[in-house]
């Protein structure tokens, strides 16, 4: 299963679902990572964590652990 955490810099993917068991799932959805949305991994921090994604016209930084709950095509 591919998640947003598997993307490499500049790679785009479409979200298929968000793992609702993740404690931050609601916030991840609220901030715009919803099924059907296309996202792009823009930058990785020094330790490859957190990751910066382009979503719905803005940039959101989330931890790798949170990115793992975003399942992509």
């Amino acid at each position: 299963m591919r998640t947003a955490a598997n993307l490499s810099n500049g790679e785009k993917a479409r979200i298929t679902s968000v793992d609702l068991r993740h404690p931050s799932a609601r916030r991840i959805l609220e901030i715009g990572f919803t099924p059907g949305q296309e996202i792009e991994l823009l930058n990785k921090s020094f330790f490859n964590d957190p990751l910066a994604f382009a979503v719905r016209g803005t940039i959101i930084a989330i931890r790798k652990d949170e990115a793992k709950s975003i399942i992509v095509e």
Binding site: G32, P35, N43, R56
Partner: protein
């Protein structure tokens, strides 16, 4: 309580242009970005008189949903439904960024469904225009069943339409506001459903602009690129920000730049603030001497010179540093860089139980722990928030700077100014490292010290880069400095005055025989006599047993007592106590030479030696000596547990480490 005027609240996501709109409508400048440095308080004002709307206008910190995710958001959302002083709002103006419409419409839709009367102000239309897209505001309004207006608060474009919409909406009858409705979005399935409704709306209102000749030619050449680009445009922010991020968030260079920016921030605090602090020092020393020169030695002139003037001086001396740090922080924040800093530092901080969001509160701690602890509200996870609050007092706040400057200039020869600078840098590094170490240790002890469940997260929007409006940055720094002064200023001044009383009474008019009462010698002797029999000396002698192991006598002990209320008082209380005991015939004796000449009471041993002064520095690095910090820590952690633990742990640590330092250095032959 509800006033007769209608209440209009401005609500919107962070970075949605809400602040600019508020400034435009109210005609004033206020800070409302809900990240560090800002407060949770509502800014209230009216509409500018030229707009002809008689209503109360409130601003609020940015939120993205009606379901709170941090204590900061909880306060904002609660007061939206039931404002503590204004009740329920009559109308909400909500800002939505056109270039990220679908994200910002979530809040708009939630507010409408909760029953609020809403007017939507669509901002950042120029960014969308650069992508050859535009929003059909009228269609959006119809689909949402409210009024929607495109505005540009900088140029004033669309403002008159917005005001018309506000006036008409205010006339309409109020609907019932139901907070229960919010619960719906606690359910993730409902969130996804709301977003798909929003996407449907967005698809209907987002229109491509009539392509220009140039674009048509380009499209002809690249055939389908016009449509392809449209899809990409919807997810990517503006390209300028992407280009800068490739550099500033570079896996390697990003970190190098980050440390460079931080180093530059601290360097500029020293080099910019130090001359100003010396100037403040000079001015108050001048005033002090002028009063004594003009009024002679009476209890009244002594009170004015050493109680009041030195007290005000103690308050004023670190104002330059506070202003400069808030200026730099405000500038970095408004450019959009601080959010990137938080992202870069999140991983290492999370290793020791903190969060990338702890970064800015900790940074603010170098100015003053009080606003820093308040800024920790933006950390959603309770454990990380408590841990951040716990270590903030270790950040070397500006109140400690005058103390360090005094002690370092005692240690270093006058010609080696750079040596003192180096020492200061070392103190700051030690304070940062010790805070990280203590955070790591506390993380090990886990639930024993900080009780909270662990659901750590880091989700942060990185706003587009902007050049900050300098007048707003300056205005905000002034507000922070003023808030700081009103909070700490009175405390410090009162302590200074109380201390003066303690050192002057009860033997305020000592009887010294056989000496001309007008001579300088008389005053010196009278001062010594007075302080030796003073209330202060009595207190000092009670705590002397505690100071003895450190090789210090009651005078240093006494100077330290008031520092537990506010540390900066150390310099003035030391001055107060030693100016009157120094056996120096010059009136204008500096504190440093007074310190050099001071002997331990009843012996010929010098009171201040290199090892003891280093020990004092170590003491000040760790000791939690600030009433305001303890009060704010109690308020923000919801009890006495954390502040008392802080007070106990840091005081014990300060004393123990000072003891080890002094005796360790003496073991190596340093006096």
């Amino acid at each position: 309580m509800k006033s007769s005027q209608p209440v209009v609240i401005l609500i919107g996501a962070p970075n949605s242009g809400k602040t600019t709109l508020f400034n435009h409508l109210s005609g004033k400048n206020f800070k409302t970005v809900n990240y560090p440095g800002s407060t949770i308080e509502y800014h209230t004002s009216g509409f500018q008189s030229q707009f002809n709307i008689d209503a109360i206008l409130l601003d609020s910190p940015g939120i993205i949903s009606v379901i709170p995710n941090s204590p900061d958001e909880e306060v904002t959302i609660n007061s939206l439904f039931e404002h503590p002083s204004f009740g329920k709002p009559d109308l909400i103006i909500t800002t939505a960024d056109a270039s990220q419409l679908s994200r910002h419409l979530l809040l708009v839709k939630q507010l409408i469904e909760c029953g609020f009367k809403v007017v939507v102000a669509i901002t950042m239309n120029d960014i969308l225009k650069d992508k050859s897209l535009a929003i059909d505001a009228e269609a959006l309004g119809k689909l949402l069943t409210v009024r929607a207006v495109k505005i540009n608060a900088k140029t004033g474009e669309g403002i008159s339409e917005l005001l018309e919409a506000v006036k008409s909406s205010l006339q309409e009858p109020a609907k019932e506001i139901k907070k229960e409705v919010c619960e719906r979005w606690n359910d993730s399935e409902n969130l996804i459903k709301t977003f798909s409704e929003i996407e449907e709306i967005e698809n209907k209102v987002l229109r491509p602009l009539n392509p220009s000749q140039e674009q048509l030619e380009k499209a002809n050449k690249e055939l389908s690129s016009l449509i392809l680009q449209e899809d990409e445009n919807k997810i990517l922010p503006e390209s300028k920000t992407l280009k800068i991020d490739n550099f500033l968030l570079h896996p390697f260079w990003g970190l190098v730049i980050f440390f460079f920016v931080m180093a530059l921030t601290f360097a500029s605090i020293f080099w910019l603030a130090l001359p100003l602090m010396n100037l403040v020092d000079y001015v108050f020393a001048f005033l002090n001497h002028a009063v004594i020169r003009e009024l002679g030695h009476t209890w009244f002139s002594d009170f004015i010179a050493f109680g009041v003037i030195d007290g005000v001086g103690a308050v004023s001396i670190f104002v330059p540093q506070i202003i400069i740090l808030f200026l730099i922080l405000g500038f970095l924040e408004d450019t959009g860089y601080l959010a990137r800093g938080a992202m870069l530092i999140d991983k290492p901080l999370s290793k020791i139980g903190l969060n990338g969001r702890s970064f800015v509160p900790m940074l603010s701690g170098f100015a003053c722990a009080v606003p820093a602890i308040l800024a920790a509200r933006t950390i959603p996870n309770r454990r990380e928030r408590l841990l951040t609050i716990f270590v903030i007092p270790l950040m070397s706040c500006s109140a400690r700077l005058p103390v360090y400057v005094l002690l370092l200039s005692f240690l270093t020869p006058p010609d080696y100014y750079w040596l003192a600078g180096l020492g200061l840098a070392a103190i700051y590094v030690i304070s940062i490292l010790s805070s990280l170490l203590i955070a790591a240790i506390i993380k090990r002890f886990n639930n024993k010290i900080i009780k909270a469940k662990d659901d750590s997260s880091f989700i942060l929007e990185l706003p587009t880069y902007k050049f900050p409006k300098l007048s707003i940055v300056f205005h905000n720094a002034m507000i922070s400095a003023k808030a700081y002064l009103s909070r700490a200023g009175l405390v410090i001044l009162s302590i200074s005055v109380i201390l003066w009383f303690l050192t002057y009474f009860p033997d305020y008019n000592p009887n010294i025989p056989n000496i001309n009462k007008a001579s300088e010698e008389y005053f010196q002797l009278a001062n010594s006599e007075r302080i030796e029999n003073s209330f202060a000396a009595m207190i000092g002698k009670v705590i002397e047993p505690v100071m003895k192991p450190l090789g210090m006598d009651w005078r240093i002990g006494l100077s330290l007592v008031p520092t537990f209320a506010a540390r900066e008082v150390f310099v003035s209380s030391l001055a107060l106590i030693f100016k009157v005991t120094a056996k120096d015939n010059q009136l204008q004796v500096s504190l440093i030479s007074a310190m050099r000449n001071a002997k331990i009471a009843g012996s010929n041993e010098p009171l201040f030696t290199a090892s003891k002064v280093v020990g004092l520095i170590v003491f000040f690095i760790f000791a939690l000596q600030c009433m305001s910090t303890i009060a704010v820590s109690k308020q923000e952690t919801g009890g006495w547990r954390i502040p008392l633990l802080q007070l106990f742990i840091y005081s014990t640590l300060a004393y123990a480490l000072a003891f080890i330092t002094i005796h360790g250095l003496q073991l190596f032959g340093i006096p």
